[in-house]
Symmetry: C2
Subunit: 335 residues, 2 copies
DNA sequence: TTTAGCACTCTATTTCTTTGATTGCTAAAG
DNA sequence: CTTTAGCAATCAAAGAAATAGAGTGCTAAA
């Protein structure tokens, strides 16, 4: 691809992102000060190479998925990281509030600033370690199990006590569990519990308390649940690509059935851009999903994602997303 | 209104609920075995009385808001409470799982069975009483405050410890707070704390610990947050009244901005039906909101609501909603 | 009070026409 | 070899006109 062809591709993407209308040779010709016929020749080549396409025989050109990809790889990725200039976001990060609250606010602003759907897939506590297990009696036949991790996450589960358990015995069970599980990673708890019941000297005590042990496991499993926050679909739905009511409904259904989380890329490091059909879900084939992952110092991983029409302002959005992910990661480092 | 006119109104509502198309005199005439001209005369009277209306000069009739209201008051309210026959729901209520989980499942099924948006505005713990306050150290300069209510709700809040606090002093503060607040209703905690700081002998100890006290108040305030669950918008959006893309977008926006909770009727006892313009929000003027409240034995109130097009199957939905609210209330009684 | 008959109204659908933007191709100019 | 002007061809989008069909209101007779 010649330098001029690359320039034309860039202009087509930029203009199309702005107008949502196919771009004709005349518009580009005016910018580059050549005749439209020249641009048409070049466009012909770009189309041959599958970087742009027509919506019908005599329409202007729109970028193809390959075109967007080229645009992102060569133009956006080479942008200097403009780490500043996102003043509104700095305000949020500097206010020193609750971590979850900061993330929510940042995600809200992100979706508002981009007219896309923003998603935070929070780090879960799967790799945290057990700090303390407690039991608090509520009534004569009910108690509350409380589990605390070394990072201050708390989960609780109510249990029913049967007649044949006395308080002393329960205290013994809890002591035992504490002894056994403190400093165990949440991810290993279930395994360890089952093993100990089979093999250690405490099996007599626990064996007849299977329901209690099950309640524990259930309480622990809550830690592993991924915490997410999704917002801004309503902003996005006013984009012209959602003028088609079928697409709109399909999109809402996808969100409500939590299918949208399937296309968030949690695996890759750094930024990941999935354009159109690169997303597995059919309803998302006109959308781009950009995911930016970050790591917490306790080995968990979080992801900030943005879902919008393939025609989105990559040049602005990608640095912004990087910026936000970096700042959220910082929130987790501080402790 | 004569008996026959009432019958015609009922038939118009029933047919319109089924077909979503204006009902002509011919359709009714066939059911009642009279000529369409007779029905037209009667319809003229019903229209005069504002129970039905035309969408244009030569269209069939649709029920007006007044018509729906009459239909509900005279026909639906007099239905025998068919407490049984909702087998799918019984299954959910009988499975003996977590209370929140049961509510979620019931709400999910409710929205699926009705193609409406279902909302649970859960009872909060505002009137519960403090059972126990605990502090668990996490690191040398961080600790976790845990508050437990007499109904087993748990809330926690992380606090940072400054250098000048030693563990002993903290234990003393916690003991004091426990002594002071146990059995205090959550709703009175803040007030009581402030009062005691001003007047009691402990003011010296607490005065210099204002940030800690603030953290406590924040932890307590979490109890008062209303817990809600909303689902099934995507089912509803496939209804023909949402073929208009503007309405659809407006509705989604209303949900996403949490405005929809403004129209849930939490105040009235029993069942409340708000038809069309009876809802304050403009975007909801073609919708009906049915709310069914229940009381827990600890003085809290919960609401199950259903939002759908005014053209909804009231005869089926109203008993169903009553049924579900009754069963959820039962869940709260059992303890 | 009910009904048959008929003119009238309005929507929804289809078909046709027009407009305008854009392309590809060709041949001439640089 | 590249660029450009010119021109016919293509197609979507918008508008206009024609048609079909469902339903109403009114009148006069049963």
């Amino acid at each position: 691809m010649t330098k001029r062809q690359e320039m034309i591709l860039k202009l087509i993407v930029d203009e199309y992102v702005k107008s949502a209308e196919p771009i004709g040779s005349k518009a580009i010709a005016e910018i580059l000060n050549v005749s439209s016929a020249t641009i048409r020749n070049e466009m012909g080549i770009l189309e041959e190479l599958n970087y742009i396409e027509k919506t019908h025989t005599s329409s202007g050109r729109v970028p193809s998925e390959k075109g967007y990809r080229y645009y992102i790889e060569t133009i956006v990725k080479n942008l200097d990281e403009e780490t500043d200039g996102f003043f509104e976001f700095d305000e949020i990060f500097e206010q020193g509030a609750d971590r979850d609250e900061i993330i929510h606010e940042a995600i809200n602003l992100l979706s508002e600033a981009t007219n896309c759907t923003a998603i935070s897939l929070g780090p879960n506590a799967y790799h945290s370690k057990v700090k303390k297990i407690q039991m608090v009696p509520i009534t004569s036949h009910q108690a509350l199990i409380i589990v605390i991790t070394n990072f201050g996450h708390v989960e609780s589960k109510q249990i029913n006590l049967s007649e044949d358990m006395d308080t002393e015995e329960l205290v013994k069970v809890i002591d035992l569990l504490n002894e056994m599980l403190i400093d165990t990673p949440i991810s290993k708890v279930s395994e360890k519990l089952h093993y100990e019941i089979q093999h250690s000297h405490i099996k007599e005590l626990l064996k007849y308390r299977e329901t209690i042990v099950d309640s524990f496991i259930e309480a622990f499993s809550k830690f592993a649940q991924s915490r997410y926050y999704l917002t801004g679909s309503s902003n996005m739905l006013y984009q012209p690509e959602f003028n088609d009511i079928h697409k709109l409904r399909e999109f809402i259904s996808t969100i409500e059935n939590n299918e949208i989380f399937k296309i968030v890329d949690q695996d890759s490091e750094g930024i990941s851009v999935k354009i159109g059909s690169e997303n597995q879900i059919t309803a998302m084939n006109d959308c781009t999903v950009i995911s930016s992952s970050y790591n917490t110092h306790d080995g968990e991983k979080g992801t900030i994602s943005l879902v919008g029409p393939t025609r989105m302002d990559y040049r602005r959005i990608i640095p912004l997303l990087k910026y936000i992910a970096r700042h959220i990661a910082k929130l987790y480092e501080e402790e």
